[in-house]
């Protein structure tokens, strides 16, 4: 038994027969190993997963109130494979990563707006906090642990940008009380069509789901736009669809959204740049151009014109 690799063990877990079966490895990272076996997908969650939190998050994903928003698991209960918590899902068709221009920006925005408007009392509880700030903290830890490959100045700029954030946004203090149900780690890999191939879009990956500031779920696209990765037209498609669907995280339609988005977008810029630097260092390569754009955004965040300079002692 223990000779079996984790992916093979996951495939056996996902297979209707419960026996070893052919599988496709969809992801294999330290925060999750995902295996597809026919119409089923098994995910081994990270070793250090908060297991009580995951159990609630799985029950939330199974809640009727969210059946049109989140992909519903095949089993609401968390299983175990080789000591890892494991969840079981139906297979859904993802966005083609080679065609980001076909990304479903409007459906994504509408799903987030719906998620953010679900009354918490209709969900199984206690709903844990959204883990967005914890991921900023993890990215900064990875940056700190990365070998120095001549990117000290860039790393310094990312840390300086991180210091413009309040402690809670860096995961160093509890987040302000209140909020709405958030996804916590929204990007274009978090959407699938179900049932395949032409079903409606659903959000996947509940690991970071929880109560928090809805701006956090808009902040990654906002950061991509602010850094210059995504053009204004694409950004407005996303933003307008979210607001038109009643999403509460970006102010009313027609207003400047940045008073609502700025903090979370800075946090996601820091997170993305920190991970990019850590990854480039580990792979002993230079930053790719899009990674450079995120680091450049951190440089600008760190050197924002003074809002109010501390006066000399008086």
């Amino acid at each position: 038994m223990t000779q079996q690799t984790l992916p093979a063990a996951l495939a056996a877990y996902a297979a209707p027969s419960g026996r070893p079966a052919p599988y496709e490895l969809l992801a294999d990272r330290d925060d999750g190993t995902v295996v597809r076996c026919g119409g089923s997908v098994a995910k081994a969650h990270a070793e250090d997963t908060d297991r009580d939190g995951l159990a609630v998050r799985m029950r939330i994903a199974s809640a009727r109130a969210l059946s049109q928003v989140l992909l519903q698991p095949l089993r609401a209960e968390v299983g175990h494979v080789q000591g890892r918590p494991v969840s079981l899902w139906p297979y859904g068709a993802p966005v083609d990563p080679h065609r980001p221009e076909d990304a479903p920006w409007e459906p994504t925005a509408r799903l987030l707006a719906a998620l953010h408007q679900v009354p918490l009392r209709r969900l199984p509880g206690p709903v844990p906090p959204m883990r967005g700030p914890a991921k900023v903290a993890r990215a900064l830890r990875r940056l700190a642990a990365a070998p120095d490959t001549g990117t000290r100045a860039e790393a310094g700029a990312v840390r300086a940008a991180a210091r413009t954030l309040p402690a809670w946004a860096r995961g160093e203090a509890p987040a302000p009380a209140g909020g709405v149900l958030c996804h916590g780690d929204l990007h274009l890999g978090q959407l699938v069509r179900f049932p395949v191939p032409e079903g409606s879009w659903r959000l996947i990956d509940v690991d970071d789901l929880g109560v928090g500031a809805p701006a956090w779920d808009l902040a990654r696209p906002a950061a991509w736009y602010a850094a210059g990765l995504v053009d204004a037209r694409t950004w407005l498609r996303f933003l307008d669809a979210y607001r038109d669907a009643g999403g509460p995280g970006a102010g009313p339609p027609g207003c400047d959204p940045w008073p609502e988005l700025d903090l979370a977008a800075r946090a996601l810029t820091v997170q993305t740049a920190a991970l990019a630097l850590a990854k480039a260092a580990r792979e002993e390569r230079r930053l790719e151009d899009v990674e450079r754009l995120m680091v450049d955004a951190c440089v600008r965040i760190a050197t924002l014109p003074p809002h109010l300079e501390p006066a000399s002692a008086s």
Partner: protein, 108 residues
């Protein structure tokens, strides 16, 4: 003290003898009783002494306009008068970096 809006810490600054609390998170400002009047007084003293304060820079185009608002730290193409940087689609700016672009949009 804590910011009533975002709950980050507020720091005290001294502007021309007026104590101002500014939030380290959202950069909101809290003024004590009488401080706004004190600032207004300083402004009129300045005007009397040096003439009219120059008007602030033109505000960004109102939304929804030709370009969407962007934060102060946004990429230079978001700056005023560079609206042509927008609307190219992904291919315009980053078509030749498509691999990295795709990866970044699809990963945590």
């Amino acid at each position: 003290m804590q910011c009533p809006k975002c709950h980050a810490m507020m720091h005290t600054y001294n502007r021309n003898g007026v104590q101002i609390e500014q939030c380290s998170g959202c950069r909101g400002i809290f003024l004590d009783y009488g401080e706004l009047e004190a600032l207004t007084r300083l402004e009129s003293q300045y005007t009397a002494q040096y003439g009219q304060v120059p008007p602030p820079a033109a505000p960004p185009a109102p939304y929804p306009g030709q370009h969407a608002p962007a934060p102060a730290w946004g990429a230079p193409q978001h700056g005023h008068g560079h609206g042509h940087g927008h609307g190219h689609g992904h291919h315009g700016h980053h078509g030749h970096h498509k691999g990295g672009f795709g990866r970044m949009l699809f990963s945590s």
